[in-house]
């Protein structure tokens, strides 16, 4: 039977509808399409896709189970490698990972198998149909502490709990999930899915202590005094970067972290929220990553009449996932490429210092850019075009240009070495310069993907198990 060269499309909400609600954009495969898509998999012997997966999910095996409609068995196979399948099926950049290695794609120049969509299908099927709780294994007597309930911490905790470790996760915020709850919006990753994955970990015996800031409420040294034998630090990204241009303190300028946290974690997108956020008007989001796309699409759903992405390079260099960029374009986000902000403009009434409009953003002044010689990153360096300044009238500016690591743990943990950017230094096992202290995710790498953080959590869990099981 000839293989269908095209990946099955996943149904989505129509752009003009979804641009005004916070419900999920992509709706997932129905059963028949999932089975059809699974049948495109050649079940290659050498399984190149598995190597493309940061957590090495046994992809051909779970897809084989889908072909036979054994969805729960497919889930069991994924779950051996991934603690968060419903999350990864949604937010992983599969096009640069597993799917980029797919034989259909590499050899036959067809669309790769929709591995991510199938993973999501399996996880959603499980969540909708399975009602037995996860079984906590027999305890092995060892205690491990995990700092941060984000993707790396949840993964590390899940892997260790499955081996019988008593794991306690300490989370600084009031809800577990890290970037999955404060950063990634509801329309891309419903929070109920994150909550469900966290509940599964709790069923495995993991304790989640919210409102505990390691480095402040407790230190890493105190965790060891409390009897934990190893600590995994997955404290995530840190302070947001700003551009250092005039006007960044005007009211209406947010970091992407703040804007998304207000909307996602604090639920400012709901009617009459207790946490306010600036809604409506015109919005400029500065940056070209996935976070910038999330911020722009959130602004649109909050009721903005116009949303710009302002990015200093061209579409070719824009780092966000293609799918997210396409979704954003369909929804009407206006991409202003090869543009760089040089100043944020604010309202100032010279006659009335008490005018309530004083100090609010009125626009963003940009300069056009052109691409020059390649820089250290290999990308062509954008250079300002003299005399090309222009203004965009906006009410809100969201700066989405990266983060710098959080200083709280470094400053309170003696002997924990960090690099010049403040990222925690680890070896290939995730071990830091401190004995029995491991780290992974954005706290080590700086802002990266959910799945790479999960991969790091997994590596550290394996190393912790090897270090402690011999004891």
């Amino acid at each position: 039977m000839a293989v269908n060269p095209k990946k099955h499309e996943m149904p989505t909400q129509a752009p003009q509808v979804r641009a005004h609600n916070f419900q999920e954009v992509a709706l997932g495969y129905p059963v028949e399409i999932a089975v059809e898509e699974a049948k495109r998999c050649l079940n290659c012997k050498n399984k190149p896709c598995v190597n493309g997966c940061p957590v090495n999910i046994n992809i051909p095996d779970f897809i084989t189970q889908i072909k036979q409609s054994n969805f729960e068995e497919a889930y069991r196979i994924i779950n051996q490698s991934s603690s968060l399948p419903a999350v990864c099926g949604r937010v992983c950049p599969q096009e640069t990972q597993c799917e980029s290695q797919c034989t259909l794609h590499v050899r036959a120049k067809m669309d790769p198998v929709g591995i991510g969509r199938l993973e999501r299908f399996v996880a959603d099927w499980h969540n909708a149909h399975a009602n037995e709780k996860a079984q906590a294994p027999a305890p092995n007597g060892h205690k491990v502490a995990v700092v941060g309930a984000g993707p790396s911490g949840l993964t590390c905790a899940g892997d260790l709990a499955k081996k019988g470790y008593k794991v306690t996760i300490y989370e600084a915020l009031h809800t577990a999930g890290g970037v999955l709850v404060y950063g990634i919006p509801e329309f891309r990753l419903p929070k109920s899915i994150v909550a469900k994955e966290v509940d599964t970990l709790k069923e495995l015996g993991v304790d989640v202590e919210t409102n505990v800031i390691i480095g402040k409420t407790l230190t890493i040294d105190e965790l060891f005094e409390m009897g934990f034998e190893a600590v995994f630090v997955g404290s995530g990204a840190g302070l947001p970067n700003f551009m250092g241009i005039p006007g960044e303190a005007y009211k209406g300028v947010y970091s992407a972290n703040e804007f998304l946290t207000r909307s996602n974690l604090m639920k400012a997108y709901k009617d009459a929220p207790q946490t306010p956020i600036m809604k409506g008007g015109k919005v400029a989001v500065v940056g070209g990553g996935n976070v910038a796309m999330d911020a722009a699409r959130t602004a649109l759903r909050l009721g903005a009449e116009k949303v710009y992405i302002v990015y200093r390079r061209s579409m070719e260099e824009l780092p966000a996932r293609r799918e997210e960029v396409e979704h954003a374009e369909e929804e009407g986000i206006d991409f202003r490429l090869l543009c760089n902000p040089i100043e944020i403009l604010g309202y100032h009434n010279p006659d009335d210092p008490r005018d309530p409009k004083n100090g609010f953003v009125t626009g963003i002044r940009c300069v056009k850019m052109e691409l020059g010689e390649p820089d250290a990153s290999g990308r062509r360096r954008p250079v300002a075009v003299p005399g090309s300044e222009f203004d965009l009238d906006v009410d809100t500016v969201v700066m989405s240009i990266g983060t710098s690591p959080n200083p709280l743990i470094k400053s309170t943990t003696k002997g924990l070495e960090v690099n010049k950017w403040g990222g925690i230094i680890v070896n290939e096992d995730g071990l830091t310069s401190r004995e029995h202290v491991y780290a992974g995710g954005d706290a080590v790498t700086g802002a990266a993907t959910v799945i790479s953080a999960m991969g790091a959590g997994k590596v550290a869990a394996k190393a912790i198990d090897e270090a402690l099981s011999g004891k």
Binding site: I213, T217, L239, K251, S255, T261, Q274, P356, N406, L408
Partner: protein, 282 residues
């Protein structure tokens, strides 16, 4: 959940609660703050620690009813529970080497100034406290200040209690009389702190100001609490939650901080009225 163990009304709009939070109680130092949420849908609000009882495991915070969240919080009684209570956050007030300190508090800011004065007193420093209020009815913590200050001056804007005038009047008098403070620590409305800095400037006395900007996470993630310092003519962004809340008063761009503090003023007023009506109906 975190139990409110005790509640004390300090004046018609300022309330003190003691909350069961043993881990925070063990660690919190004067100048640090906590973040709390009243209920499941609640806002995260930062409140400075006003004292701790590590043995009992309780943390004291004092708040002024200024908006919807503090209005709802004010309706909680001893025995009720708060949804979240996290901390201690921020850097504790710097005390090392300071032997003669002047603590200048204004309004509800005195709630934060008081534990700082107490700490200096405990460390054996000479403590002069100047506390100011709009009128007699709003006076708080006078006895507490008396107990930890070598000298206490109470000011009211309308002269209904203590001396008539604002806190900079006696501060200037003392500085002019040759008082050699090692440090002036000021906590209160931004406009007051700005004028305290201006009063101290001609005498070259260092001033520390405790900032209280809008925050969300309070742990160095969102950047909402950023303030601008002017260092060697350069504008430098700092984050009150991890770099502060105390900053060198001479470096702070107070006008910018005042403007940013009003970002949600219209929204807050509306939400506050709604919250008040809610309790009226009930």
């Amino acid at each position: 959940m975190y139990k409110i163990v005790r509640k004390r009304i300090l004046n018609p709009t300022v309330t003190q609660i003691e909350v069961d939070a043993p881990l925070v109680a063990r660690k919190a130092k004067p100048g640090q703050f906590i973040i709390l949420r009243v209920d499941e849908e609640g806002e995260r609000i930062p409140l400075t620690v006003a004292g701790t009882n590590p043995e009992e495991g309780t943390v004291k915070v004092i708040f002024q009813v200024v908006g919807a969240t503090t209005e709802i919080l004010n309706h909680k009684e001893a025995g009720d529970y708060l949804q979240d209570f996290a901390g201690p956050l921020g850097v504790a007030t710097h005390t090392e080497g300071i032997k003669n300190v002047c603590v200048v508090g204004g309004g509800a800011g005195c709630a934060i100034a008081m534990p700082v004065a107490e700490e200096f007193h405990r460390l054996g420093a000479k403590v002069t406290s100047i506390i100011g209020f709009r009128n007699k009815d709003l006076l708080i913590l006078e006895d507490e200040f008396k107990a930890c200050s070598d000298q206490l001056i109470v000011m009211t804007d309308d002269g209904s209690y203590g001396r008539h005038g604002n806190v900079t009047v006696p501060l200037k008098e003392m500085l002019e009389a040759g008082e050699q403070f090692d440090m002036i620590i000021t906590i209160g409305p931004l406009i007051m702190m700005k004028f305290v800095v201006a009063a101290a400037k001609p005498f070259g006395v260092p001033v520390t100001a405790s900032m209280n900007p809008i925050m969300i996470d309070g742990t160095g993630m969102c950047g909402g609490c950023r303030i601008t310092l002017i260092q060697d003519g350069k504008r430098v962004t700092k984050f009150a939650c991890v770099d502060g809340p105390d900053f060198n008063g001479y470096e702070i761009d107070f006008d910018e901080a005042m403007s940013r503090g009003r970002m949600y003023a219209a929204y807050e007023r509306h939400a506050y009225e709604k919250a008040c009506n809610l309790f009226k109906d009930a």
